[in-house]
Symmetry: C2
Subunit: 248 residues, 2 copies
């Protein structure tokens, strides 16, 4: 069995019992180094394997090689394994592995265990920004053409969705959030209620509420998740709240 495990934002208390049980059961835990380091002493006796960033394909193939040796394998991802995580690549490469290795059945041996994604964990810190229909959009253009990201931002604004924005910034993409806000403001009021959360579920968690116009001029880092309300969202105290409609 190869289990692709969503570890949530990082701390053990935000993992599910079934995620912890899958790691307890594993002979080898495979993941990006930063995530392996977030795992506590509970798994100290396990074999840990990793590959550098951007070697995701190699990391997944490592899972199949280890499983072929008869080991119980857990691949860890931050947040949810199926939301910008490794789950889809594991299925794609599992299919390829089985085609290349007659008799292998890696594809059917892959099991995904969900975790708390930043849309959920960040929203909880900020209040309830995603409490109606919402979109999740990553601003990273490493794997996605920027034109498609722009198209999705426009569609999200057209649909008056609340939005969770992942990967709002990086060293090379310091102005992407600004560009995204400009696109959203083609349709959305600059006064639209927004917020952002930094270091969710880790030391030094901080959250801020602001307007869309203020968000445009805010420099966030790669450890931040950004939330844009819908037209009904409002700031209550220091929380960002998108009503579900029960109060009407």
């Amino acid at each position: 069995m190869i289990t692709v495990v969503g570890m949530g934002p990082g701390k053990e208390a935000m993992m599910t019992e079934e995620a912890l049980a899958a790691l307890d059961r594993a002979d080898v835990i495979i993941g990006y180094t930063v995530y392996l380091e977030l795992l506590g002493d509970r798994f100290a006796g396990k074999e840990y394997l990793s590959t550098p960033m951007k070697q995701e394909v190699e990391r997944c193939r490592m899972c199949f090689e280890q499983a072929a040796m008869g080991k119980e394998v857990a691949m860890i991802c931050s947040g949810d394994a199926g939301i910008y995580g490794m789950a889809s690549l594991m299925f794609e490469l599992g299919e390829e592995y089985d085609a290349e290795h007659p008799g292998a059945s890696m594809l059917t041996d892959i099991c995904v265990i969900p975790g708390i994604t930043a849309a959920s964990s960040g929203a909880a810190v900020l209040g309830a920004p995603l409490n109606h229909d919402f979109c999740v959009i990553s601003l990273s253009d490493l794997l996605t053409p920027w034109e498609l990201i722009e198209k999705r931002l426009r569609a999200a604004a057209d649909g008056d969705f609340a939005i969770a924005i992942y990967n709002p910034s990086s060293r090379k993409r310091h102005d992407y959030l600004q560009k995204a806000c400009d696109i959203l403001m083609e349709k959305a009021d600059p006064e639209r209620a927004c917020g952002y959360v930094r270091n969710i579920g880790r030391d030094g968690t901080e959250s801020h509420v602001c307007t869309l116009a203020e968000l445009r001029d805010t420099q966030v880092d790669m450890f931040t998740t950004v939330f844009v309300g819908n037209s009904q969202s409002r700031i209550i105290g220091d929380r960002l709240v998108t009503p579900r409609g029960y109060k009407k």
Copy 2:
């Protein structure tokens, strides 16, 4: 402290440790009867309070009344408390309570603990359908005008988002999924890869993959979450997989 707790799909193994700890700490657990019944023996000694369905406002006010007596209160929601859950209503009513009760500070005492929402848990059962930008849309028009739901479905198709559809059906709304699929097919290929999961995280979990055209002619029930892939999604074995792009 009033903690609004996301309990995930139902079984204890899919709750986070911090959610379980909040329930352990509570003097009184408040929630919709069906969710209280899902809680295991672990909390058998606690006081349980409930209101019938559609009395969400009363249920939230009950939290403030109990907290005002000095009790530690936990309000439980299925899935994630901030995704179609009670979190936003709690903030709205907390603000109201504080305005009506000089000296009260219910609003600042509300804390949200995230849980695994059906988009995550259902996706994990099905494979990796939401492994790129996605929308979450509820087809329930109890609190949302159907015209707005239609607008969001069109926007989701325009943006080529993967989509998780909540509340796809009910006794009174047996043809809503059919209507939703017809709207999506104005833009999306009828061969678009889709799937659905029933009874996520409970006894009798079942998942199916199909095309969008087949989904249109499928009768699902209220315990089902539906997933529509984006234009790049495909069915691999019996899984629905939306590539992230690592394999290119």
